[in-house]
Symmetry: C2
Subunit: 826 residues, 2 copies
């Protein structure tokens, strides 16, 4: 025990802080990629500080230095400018090292706790900061969501009219504040002026419809162009759903500015505008991005998280759970979404905090109550009809449809996005947005079901027909002498037939326009459009089944669905719900989180089995037709360096096939890679090392015993080496350019040359190594699970080569017949 404790003080090491920031836009990353493409041979892909535990027991002379570096540690931690990171943009992080760094920092704080009251407070602050941070993030996410919800509803109503007495109120609030009792056919009231009314056009006139139509298009174009302009000018990262990028970031990639305050602001405003423009998109997916922005911003208040990229991802995981939580009022679903879909490296540890964060966000949003109703759930189901075991057949059919739709959508959306990237279309994002807005507005206005907001349509479709519903969809030939006319299934009337035609058109329109919408340069989510398509399919199938049962009530297949007197019960609303789950499952390939979100969204615990069956079928069909969900497909499309943790690597290549340099032995495709740049432990001069530093771009170098016996000693980072040499030449006496650089503890000092430069401090003596025969599946597993950035390859103890995360990603892409050069990687 003593030995363990006393060594705590020896783990300090020198900290250097990377300040470089490159502000490349992801959209135009080609140059950045190409610039670095030439990096071959050895090289860790980063140049941050080194802080692996160093063992100094056999070097008594090091103790003073250790004391120094200990105090350096504190100073450096305190002096770190907020916002500076240790990694450069578009670099990948080294989890193992970041986590080790955090543990060291923690030990340091625990050790100092004894010294005085201030340090005790500091220690307590450190222990609580995680909880405080996620509390802030949850509250912020809830507030943001509340503001966006209110703003969206105001802007959507602005398209139709205005509250003359208080323009900041939406229609509902306007009529409410005026205590309106009479409502006109548009749902307006005395205080609420539709534009037609304002300009004196009577709504009974024939021209009123035209005026409304035109105004609808004009407003849509205005909102769309503002949104597109905002995104273009202020924050290019604010477009899209953000989930693919957040998955990539959580997997350990740095994209500076992606979660910044400008992105937050522009995304929030852009979302309101885009939804108000009537585009076929949802604001639910982008909520995840908004919440993650909150997470990133608040993490800078807590150095523990703000200055450690690996720890920061714990906060971001919690934030993404909060995002889904506020989007759907589904805290448990949010946590499972974060766990299943976006998080990467540490699911269990942050589960509890994520749940807290998600719950706080939902609680705050509920307290804000942006919709003015008290429903905890978005698409509340007010019925409790049972479902029957034979209904599983249509549910499975819906799953099939959902899976087919998902694959269809992914395939064509990706094709269209590829076309956008390669053609001149990509150069005019605002024009594209305006065209999509115009077509959407033009086509959606005439049809009630497309004119209304997506989530309103879903709410309509999942509900059953009650006594107060006199819409087309509820036009059944009911027998009102029956005591419960609304719980039994009866023949449809003309209204339902009309509604079915309209729904069919809406289905076609939504299914097609969403392909072109998802990917335009405004904030746009995919949850609601997918669910809308699914809900329409579901309601149509549901009505079909209902009519089938009504037609053949005595069929043995339906006998248990019909009680006495041929009163059969089929609730088309359940089908709409199941269809929504199936389509969303087909597009996103979510599983547990999908079912839990749907359950929390509708409150229908009794329908969890049908939803699960549909989600399962949909996922299987989808996976059979195309391997990836939409988010993974977009990750692939954009070439993010994402090492999927769910995909199994099933090939039989070994480490020697992947490592660089490859020229070593029996490779089938021998490339003339430059030889591995290595340093020796005690036989190179400063001059030699500087020439290696100049001639290569690798960010780290393996250190071996001697050029003749290349046994691996350790690994040293370029930045550490550069700094140490520069410092020594400047400040240390006796060090000249032909001094030997010594990475180990020399037993016999070099007497006949100049004084040698001791660099044992900066040498990482514990690099992760594998043998050349290690199967790549094990290597991939190690990269995933340990969060490595590189590993050294040895054979009988001799250094052979290096495998970086980049090499692994290239190899995986190569094996999956993708273009390895497409991967965006520093």
């Amino acid at each position: 025990m003593e030995s363990a404790e006393s060594r705590t003080s020896q783990n300090g090491s020198v900290y250097h802080i990377g300040q470089g920031t490159r502000l490349n836009s992801i959209q135009t990353n080609g140059e950045a990629r190409n610039r670095r493409e030439t990096q071959a041979g050895s090289g860790s892909d980063d140049d941050a500080m080194l802080d692996i535990v160093m063992d100094g027991r056999d070097d008594q002379g090091l103790h003073e230095e250790i004391g120094n570096s200990q105090s350096n540690l504190t100073d450096t931690l305190d002096e770190l400018p907020v916002g500076s990171g240790h990694y450069e943009d578009f670099h990948t992080i080294d989890w193992l090292r970041d986590i080790a760094r955090d543990r060291m920092r923690h030990r340091h704080i625990v050790k100092k706790r004894q010294d005085g009251c201030f340090n005790k407070v500091k220690s307590a602050h450190d222990a609580w900061s995680g909880w405080v941070c996620v509390l802030f993030v949850g509250v912020a996410a809830g507030v943001c969501a509340g503001i966006i919800d209110i703003g969206t509803s105001w802007m959507s109503d602005l398209k139709e009219g205005i509250c003359l007495e208080a323009f900041w109120l939406n229609r509902e609030q306007c009529c409410w504040s005026g205590n309106a009792t009479t409502f006109d056919e548009d749902g307006g009231c005395n205080q609420w002026y539709s534009w037609a009314k304002l300009f004196g056009v009577q709504s009974s006139e024939g021209g009123a419809y035209i005026v409304k139509y035109l105004l609808y298009i004009v407003w849509a174009l205005i909102f769309g162009s503002i949104a597109a302009l905002f995104v273009r000018v202020f924050a290019p990262y604010a477009c899209g759903s953000g989930i693919p990028e957040i998955k990539t970031i959580l997997s350990g990639f740095i994209i500076r500015g992606y979660l910044g305050k400008w992105t937050l602001l522009v995304k929030s405003v852009g979302m309101m505008l885009a939804v108000a423009a009537g585009l076929s998109l949802g604001k639910e997916g982008p909520f995840v991005h908004v919440a993650c922005c909150c997470g990133n911003i608040f993490s800078y208040l807590f150095p523990k998280y703000g200055r450690n990229e690996a720890k920061k991802r714990e906060i971001l995981s919690a934030a993404s759970a909060a995002g889904v939580s506020v989007a759907f009022g589904a805290p448990i679903g949010g946590v499972l979404f974060s766990l299943e879909e976006v998080s990467y490296y540490f699911p269990l540890k942050t589960l509890w905090r994520s749940f807290f964060c998600a719950l706080m966000a939902a609680f705050v949003l509920r307290s804000i109550n942006p919709f003015g109703n008290d429903h905890l759930v978005m698409f509340y189901i007010d019925y409790n009809e049972p479902w029957y075991i034979q209904e599983l057949i249509p549910f499975i059919f819906l799953g099939l449809l959902g899976g087919l739709y998902g694959s269809f959508f992914i395939k064509f959306n990706i094709k269209w996005c590829k076309y956008r990237k390669t053609s001149s279309l990509g150069k005019y994002p605002i024009i594209e947005v305006l065209i999509v807005v115009f077509i959407t507005a033009l086509l959606s206005f005439p049809n009630d079901y497309t004119r209304m907001n997506g989530s309103e349509l879903i709410r309509l479709l999942v509900q059953r027909c009650g006594p107060e519903d006199n819409t087309d969809l509820c036009d059944y030939k009911r027998n009102f002498t029956n005591p419960y006319p609304y719980t039994e299934s009866v023949t449809i009337g003309d209204g339902v037939k009309r509604a079915l035609w309209k729904l069919m058109l809406a289905l076609l329109f939504k299914a097609l326009i969403t392909i072109f919408t998802f990917g335009i340069k405004v904030p746009c989510g995919l949850f609601i459009p997918s669910m809308t398509v699914g809900a329409i399919m579901g309601r149509m199938v549901g009505i079909g089944v209902e009519q089938l049962v009504v037609l053949y009530p005595n069929s043995p297949l339906f006998s248990n669905m019909c009680q006495s007197q041929q009163t059969c019960t089929v609730t088309p609303g359940i089908y709409a719900m199941v269809g929504a789950a199936a389509a969303l499952g087909g597009v996103t390939r979510m599983t547990v989180s999908l079912v839990v979100i749907m359950f929390e969204l509708t409150g229908g615990i009794q329908f969890i089995v049908p939803m699960m069956v549909a989600a399962m079928t949909s996922k299987w069909i989808g996976d059979a037709l195309g391997r990836e969900g939409i988010y993974d497909a977009h990750i692939g499309l954009n070439g993010y360096p994402y090492l999927d943790s769910k995909e199994e690597f099933t090939h039989t290549t070994i480490a020697a096939d992947v490592m660089r340099p490859r020229c070593w032995r029996y490779g089938l495709e021998v490339r003339n890679d430059p030889p591995l740049s290595v340093l020796t432990q005690d036989s190179m001069t400063i001059d030699e090392i500087e020439s290696i530093l100049k001639s290569t771009e690798h960010n780290g170098f393996p250190v071996v015993v001697s050029p003749e016996s290349q046994y691996l000693v350790g690994f040293v980072l370029r930045r550490d080496l550069n700094l140490a040499i520069t410092n020594a030449l400047k400040n240390q006496e006796g060090i000249v350019s032909n001094s030997l650089v010594v990475f180990i503890n020399q037993s016999t000092p070099n007497l006949n040359g100049p004084q040698s430069l001791k660099l044992r401090k900066i040498l990482d003596l514990a690099p992760i190594t594998i043998t050349d025969h290690t199967p790549m599946e094990t290597v991939v597993e190690m990269f995933r699970k340990l969060g490595l950035r590189q590993t050294l390859v040895t054979h009988n103890g001799r250094l052979l080569g290096i495998i970086t995360k980049k090499d692994v990603l290239r190899h995986v892409a190569h094996i999956q017949n993708q273009d390895p050069d497409n991967i965006l990687f520093n």
Copy 2:
């Protein structure tokens, strides 16, 4: 791509199957442990087959052998007797190797898919077997739970009386089947004879109570002794809750028979008996064990799972989710419980299947409907009263109480269990059970609240007082002129005061007797007793808060809780629910899964924030007072080799401190360990190797270049070596006892000696290695995340020592000031 594919066929290797089984009881494992204690020095702890991918490209002569071993592979897979495993009892498994084995098997099946229809079917069967298996497990778990529920209720009623016309019916069914309309004061009816009635004692007589009391005790003793005898004679593993053992098994340990059919049977029957005996225990925890038994049994139907311990654990994870799902009717909570509490190595991959399994189990149980009511949830909450923000203060207080109770319980239960282990008490388990049963029956009968079943008491406590409740607990001085007399809080009457005293006694009794109950040799769960204690505390605090508000309705603190006319609303039932969550949280230290289970258990989505607050407080308080939950404490008590994946290893030791042999260099506690037993790659004779095999007990040996230059070449398992040498001496011509054993591809054959034995095939060329300076936190992380059994320690490529999982566990125990010799490890 070609190279990757063509190499598929080269990955076959020789399979050997371990058939040895040792049937040590865990309770009496001392000898087994001591027998193996002497194993020091190097050694992998297992002797199973080797199947690491071997690269044979540079050895053209190996191709025939590879063809052979390929067919061997198939044969071996087909000929494996069901039930035989590759590991011996009380051994730890090597995840990395098992997973690699499964991938190889999978590749083999995929490759053979082209050859004929039968192989296509086989491939499809293989792909579906996971789903089919969890479906079976889910259904089986649901059926088992249904049978146990029905049996328990029948036996519990048997204590009080019998249905004369149909003895197999419980009271409710009996009265129901007889269409009873009149009920006597015990809830009996015409067909139902209480024992007193049967023996002619009128219930109005004074002696009736005594008779009932005596009969209650006698029945309890009968049930208790049968349960204890069953466990003692047929399946000693059936005692306790089983969750600590299942955690250990899922972390990769082999305990043969723990999940067998006898354990399943005895546990099921024993649970009914133990609950019917009136002991302070629940059947909810053991459901997890029962479901895991089902999982284990069904996994043998599918060779993919039954013959691969790592894959089998995927099924067991799903089964444990199903167990919680049927215990509480909480499928989502079950999945989260499995994820958070019991699973270890592969949470995400099995999430979806676990959910499916849990849902199927819940669905089947609901279809069986053992309680005869249609409630989906166990403690259904029929009210929708709001809670107020200031009520969070008593909720936090309840969390505090729960945390304190949890720590108190864990501390004294562990002390008592230790006393049992060390004293002569442990030798008479049946006597102990009878004593506990007697004391429980004696003390619990006089108090209504302790006489009733734990879950009935909880149901009573979480409900609010409705119009039909005329129990003591609902004796309020209500003003029935008020239109809603039951929703407002009023002064308590004498009945509530009486009930409070009884509850206080029940609380004390339950809190104390559970300490002595949990650990006796009958199946016993902890969920319901903990929740009972918490619910009693909660209800009492709730009534206290209610009366405080009634007393001071005008206080600003309560003003928003009281509407006009001083009608205040405080619902003590909510407090009972929150208290139950807090106490369960304090005992088990569950977090998200606890809140979700409580939410599913009560159906009260609006109370999720209070429950979370209480669970959080309870966990923090509990963690501050004692590091471990009850399950982890019992794992420690029994010395299971469990490497906790949630605990962070925060010490600064390095690999060189932990590896064996330790005599190598500067260790502070140099032990005179025997030197590392190593083989050389081409300079040892069969004789020399055989003498090493004889003189050591290690299960594996590192292979180095030569005795002088100990550069690591690979790792070979004892069993492979033994078999290969025996086979060669018997069957291969020219091999004599002074033949050289060659592990590599010799370029120059040995001409002047006897023919050398080529053993390249059995050499694992890709052992996981680390350097001696690797911090132990990284090593522990690697053991956890990669599921290693051992790793080799090198310095500059030279082999220094070995670290096995045993060493890591000893080291962790040593650092945590536990007795390292206590750990049960082959």
